[in-house]
Symmetry: C2
Subunit: 411 residues, 2 copies
């Protein structure tokens, strides 16, 4: 029957994720690796650092030589040399000896600590007065203390941030195996949609969804490609889909908010090669008329025409599927970021579906307030004002002002 | 005197920000605008939408015609037509009339609401039974309700997210004025540094900072360019700086953690054209030996050699300067994201400086725990384990387990 359909529970939707594969890997230069997803475990072949490094400017000593040293009772050590940066110290040191060392310098054999410059005075050219005792291995990073040979330092599936790029540099990985970026084809449908460059005649609107979806795809590490605007014609839509399937790992058809258009999208998807409609309708507000399908191993989404609904479905559902295909390990720490915040007004909700309420975060002292954005769900400006979403579960009728909620921050 | 210098209070450091200009603007295609910073106010020339739009599939009516309608007491209206998507309705409607309409469709003249399909039945070809009354303007977005003509919808200085890109699309802005990306030159210094491709001899290490800084620059919307590794030689460093200044808006010299190297960096910067050292030493841990200078109008940073220190100085200090130069309006909502969390252990701190403690966020029910990362400040792996930083203010001696802190999440 037109306009009504059975919805698939959200956990069942996510269970389809594992029916889709993960991207192949490719090897790229390290300076292009930021933001990419690692496709190999990184295991250092040798200890890092591979020598005992000073973390302070000062004097390398046997820590035991300084025991009991104080302003009142200094210890005097013989200066046997200066350790040049990046050089192997010329000699070992004995209990009565010390060598000047800089931050990053290599400790000489026999040394197990660095006395900071501030606590040492050059009495004469060969005598250093020490006024502070140090514990063994003070102001030193010992061999392998940062990363030990044979240990997994970065696991496959990790999204590379600047610190992970730095770690790869430290280990000499100037080329890195990462998962290829998923290629995501975007088709916008609807008789009422005109290209952005055109002035829409009354009754029509510009193509908002292609630009919004492309930006969201980009933000989650995919490559977006637009296949244009298709009027409500199932044959042309099918042809465009066939063309897009060739160059895509995932295909997104946005539009279909009107019943006729939704039927057309379903018809076009059903007629694709080796097609299967997995999900048609999800218990999400906004976003109910979402379709998940496949054509062969290619993921096909039918997304709502209303841009705000499409954004929320993308954020809460589609992104997980893209991340999975992109090789991201959800345990690697780059999942949703939720900020606990106190609701500034009552919000109501309909049981039986998961509602997402747009909210703005406001800092108040040491805590956050979550200010639900007023206005109809279809208004774009509500998304501009929002920092993220508040989820109201299937079995909740609403939330009271003052409740501590989690705001899922937009990525 | 070697190894000691006066530090500049943090708020004084930030006060130098406004001595540097903001980037020029450039006009780019909308599909490249995601993540960029808007350099113009966006003011719609006409209302958006420019007609009353249905937000549901159903029947366009005068709301007043439905008043009192219920299952027990239905209202019958005459169906005078169907509104095609993207078309101007053929006629107005009267109190006794209705027209079928789809989501996104244009309301006919005289209509001020849409009855959802679920509450309407086609009794025969020209009669619709309505069993629910609606308030005026139900299930409609009225002309200008999303964005009104003449109103500032997006302000100059806003970082464009997918929803802002969508808004620009809605308004037909297929080309957008944005601020140019700052070009940031990176020089790595130190006798102990070897290129990433090389196996460092004992006592030396690979160039970690160039890759880490480049990734951080990228993440805050700059264009990073490496000018290589310079051994401890002030003349060569100065020559390299002069070359880098030509193609940069900001220059970063990392290294200088050892006293000799620090002196060299200061010497090289001092000898640049129209040079001024603005800050030498900040009360930050880690990160004390930071230098802020200028050569003409170009910003020059001397950053610590220890990569973890450099990352924290970049995150807490340098990023603000880059954002300023990049045209970002800090009020536009893309400032630090802090997650309130409860400390899982005591942490100590030294008064008189701002300490940044790395922490991992752990979700526990509806709240977060902040787990301080153990390990010496110079260890890279502590940054890999961390999600963000806890700030401990100048006048605080430490924080107790259980304290509610803000974790500033890494960007």
């Amino acid at each position: 029957m037109h306009g009504f359909f059975k919805v698939t529970p959200l956990d069942t939707v996510f269970r389809h994720m594992h029916r889709f594969g993960v991207m192949d890997m490719e090897t790229i230069p390290l300076n292009q690796a930021n933001g990419r997803i690692l496709a190999q475990n990184i295991i250092p072949e040798s200890n890092y650092p591979d020598f005992n490094r000073a973390t302070m400017d000062g004097f390398a000593v046997k820590a035991e030589s300084t025991f009991g040293a104080s302003e009142a009772n200094p210890v005097y050590l013989t200066l046997t040399g200066n350790i040049d940066m990046g050089e192997i110290p010329a000699a070992a040191i004995q209990a009565t000896e010390t060598m000047a060392i800089s931050t990053g310098g290599m400790l000489p054999e026999g040394a197990n600590g660095v006395v900071m410059r501030e606590y040492a005075t050059e009495v004469d050219e060969i005598t250093i007065e020490i006024v502070r005792s140090i514990a063994p291995w003070s102001n030193v990073i010992t061999e392998g203390e940062d990363m030990a040979a044979g240990e997994i330092v970065l696991a496959s599936g990790t999204r590379l941030r600047p610190q992970e790029c730095g770690t790869l540099a430290a280990l000499g990985r100037h080329r890195v195996d990462v998962f290829k970026k998923p290629r995501i084809g975007i088709i916008s449908t609807g008789d009422e949609i005109v290209p952005v460059e055109k002035k829409p005649p009354t009754g029509k609107i510009r193509d908002v969804n292609t630009y919004t979806l492309a930006a969201m795809v980009e933000n989650c590490g995919g490559i977006a490609k637009s296949y244009g605007i298709i009027a409500d014609d199932a044959d042309i839509l099918k042809k465009t889909c066939l063309n897009a399937l060739n160059g895509s790992d995932i295909l997104m058809i946005s539009g279909g908010s009107s019943v006729g258009n939704r039927d057309m999208t379903i018809e076009a998807i059903t007629n694709l090669p080796d097609a299967e409609i997995m999900v048609h309708g999800i218990p999400l507000s906004p976003g109910k008329p979402t379709i998940l399908a496949r054509s062969g191993h290619i993921q096909v989404w039918g997304l709502p025409g209303q841009v705000t609904s499409t954004m929320i479905v993308f954020d809460r559902i589609v992104r997980g599927f893209i991340d999975h295909m992109a090789g991201l390990n959800p345990a690697s720490g780059t999942t949703d970021l939720c900020v606990p915040a106190f609701l500034t007004r009552n919000i109501s909700s309909t049981p039986g579906r998961t509602d997402y309420i747009r909210a703005r975060l406001k800092k108040e002292g040491n805590r956050y307030l979550a200010d639900p954005i007023l206005g109809k769900s279809g208004l774009i400006h509500t998304m501009i004002k929002a920092d993220g979403l508040i989820e109201i579960g299937m079995n909740t009728e609403g939330l009271e002002k003052g409740t501590l909620v989690n705001v899922i921050v937009f990525k």
